[in-house]
């Protein structure tokens, strides 16, 4: 188990050049959107990774609250950071793609708004973890749980508020070639993300253990 993150990092190091080669040289150019559609192979995997780790963070936070598990707390923290990182990637690549194909970087449709709000919730999670008071880890856990619950609600709310998704059918109608490239990119990015979360969670666990050892080593205050 010790070398799992290393293996995943090696896998993604091998896959990344192959991805670039596949995306730009081997996969045909999409007929309607042209070369701008190439960003799709990074945008969509990043969005999936962002959602995946948001859910992981919410579940880990729930376990942390119920069982007071340090392991779950460390995983929630690492997953929260990965959500913010991947979300940032989604929020940068999305408007670039949108600008090239829809003519405007931000249309405010359901998917965009819910991703942006999800990202904000997890930035708030990290802020509370970093700058919060003594009970910050429990507070942050509740925040992550609410955040994970909120995502579908926000999506639905924006959908009934503003139903103008210009390209809903993009992913469904892809030729097999493009699907295959997408899977390769997803595998590369996902193995990188899992490796990073794994390493970060281990580091967070050590930090928690160190804190605890520090508190245990402190002499009891003398009774007044």
């Amino acid at each position: 188990m010790k070398y799992v993150p290393h293996a995943l990092l090696a896998l993604s190091a091998v896959l990344f050049p192959y991805c670039v080669q596949r995306v730009f040289l081997a996969t045909p150019i999409e007929s309607q959107m042209g070369t701008a559609q190439k960003i799709f192979y990074f945008h969509v995997p990043l969005a999936w990774i962002c959602m995946l780790f948001a859910v992981v963070c919410g579940i880990a936070a729930g376990v942390q609250l119920r069982r007071r598990s340090d392991r779950a707390e460390a995983l929630a923290l690492a997953a929260g950071e990965m959500t913010v990182l991947a979300g940032l990637g989604v929020l940068i690549t999305g408007p670039i793609w949108g600008d090239a194909t829809w003519g405007t970087p931000w249309t405010g449709d359901a998917r965009q708004t819910s991703t942006a709000l999800l990202w904000l919730v997890f930035v708030a999670y990290l802020l509370v973890r970093t700058y919060g008071p003594a009970n910050a880890e429990r507070l942050a856990a509740a925040l992550a749980i609410f955040g994970a619950i909120n995502v579908p609600i926000i999506y639905y709310a924006v959908k009934i508020w503003k139903t103008t998704h210009p390209q809903t059918g993009v992913v469904g109608s892809l030729p097999q070639d493009m699907w295959n490239t997408l899977w390769v990119c997803l595998l590369a990015l996902l193995s990188l993300a899992i490796a990073l979360v794994w390493i970060r969670a281990g580091q967070a666990r050590l930090a928690i253990a160190l804190d605890r050892a520090w508190i245990d080593a402190e002499p009891e205050p003398a009774p007044a």
């Binding site: 919730v121 009970n135 507070l139 509740a142 909120n150 605890r212 245990d216």
Partner: protein, 241 residues
């Protein structure tokens, strides 16, 4: 039955304190008026069409701002008098603490909305707030306030033991209350447009409120246990590495 009685006793205690000083009502009410004036100044030149589109946003932004102020004060008072730990140590169900604070917050928010809605209605007459169905308007405002307060009470309580961390409440509150505010926004737009689907949106808001109060009540104790200083019980002592 016991839970409701405890909730009522705790809420009555807060309300009585409020009735003696009127601190929350006066400050939050005045803040509401200031906001209406600021909206009036900032959006003075909106034409008639734009007014109907902008007023729902102003209403719920106003509720969000007043709500943050109210929640800070509701728990700030406990902190200043150092009674929050006493409240946690008291032989009452923790759920009753949550529900009583929720009731107080919703009452203050409803009072502020009772100022804000007519205020916005008279400053932006073309939005047609006064022509809207009053029953729907009142239930909409109440449902929005309950949902907002359900999330807010949980996190304000979590921050109550820490002085000087109020800025974090705004950081948490606004992203997390977006769903209920968005629903309220949709419902207000439909109300002003006289849309036929208004009541179905209100029913969805009711369901959302029930879910938010449920999750808030479920998490309240976990978030608060050990809220006092140096109380961090029963965690596994060491991480095996």
């Amino acid at each position: 039955m016991r839970l409701w009685r405890q909730t009522w006793l705790l809420a009555r205690n807060d309300l009585r304190q409020e009735a003696r000083q009127l601190e929350l009502v006066m400050t939050a009410g005045f803040f509401t008026l200031v906001m209406v004036v600021l909206f009036a100044v900032a959006f003075f030149s909106l034409d008639d069409d734009a007014q109907a589109k902008a007023v729902p946003g102003m209403l719920w932004l106003g509720v969000a701002f007043v709500g943050a102020l109210t929640l800070t004060r509701v728990f700030g008072r406990e902190r200043e008098a150092n009674t929050f730990n006493a409240l946690l140590a008291a032989p009452v169900d923790r759920l009753a603490i949550y529900l009583s604070k929720l009731v107080v917050t919703v009452l203050v928010l409803a009072l502020c909305s009772a100022l804000m809605v007519p205020g916005l209605g008279s400053v932006f007459p073309a939005a047609g707030i006064f022509d809207a169905d009053p029953v729907a308007l009142v239930s909409l405002v109440l449902l929005g306030c309950i949902g907002y307060a359900a999330v807010g009470t949980l996190f304000a309580a979590g921050l109550a033991s820490a002085a000087g961390k109020n800025v974090l409440l705004s950081v948490i509150l606004y992203p997390l209350t977006t769903p209920v505010l968005l629903f309220a926004l949709v419902a207000t737009q439909r109300l002003l447009e006289g849309h036929a689907e208004l009541w179905s949106v209100l029913a969805q808001m009711l369901a959302l409120d029930v879910a938010l109060v449920g999750v808030g009540a479920w998490l309240f104790e976990s978030v608060l246990v050990g809220a006092g200083p140096r109380a961090n019980p029963a965690r596994s002592p060491r991480v095996s590495s």
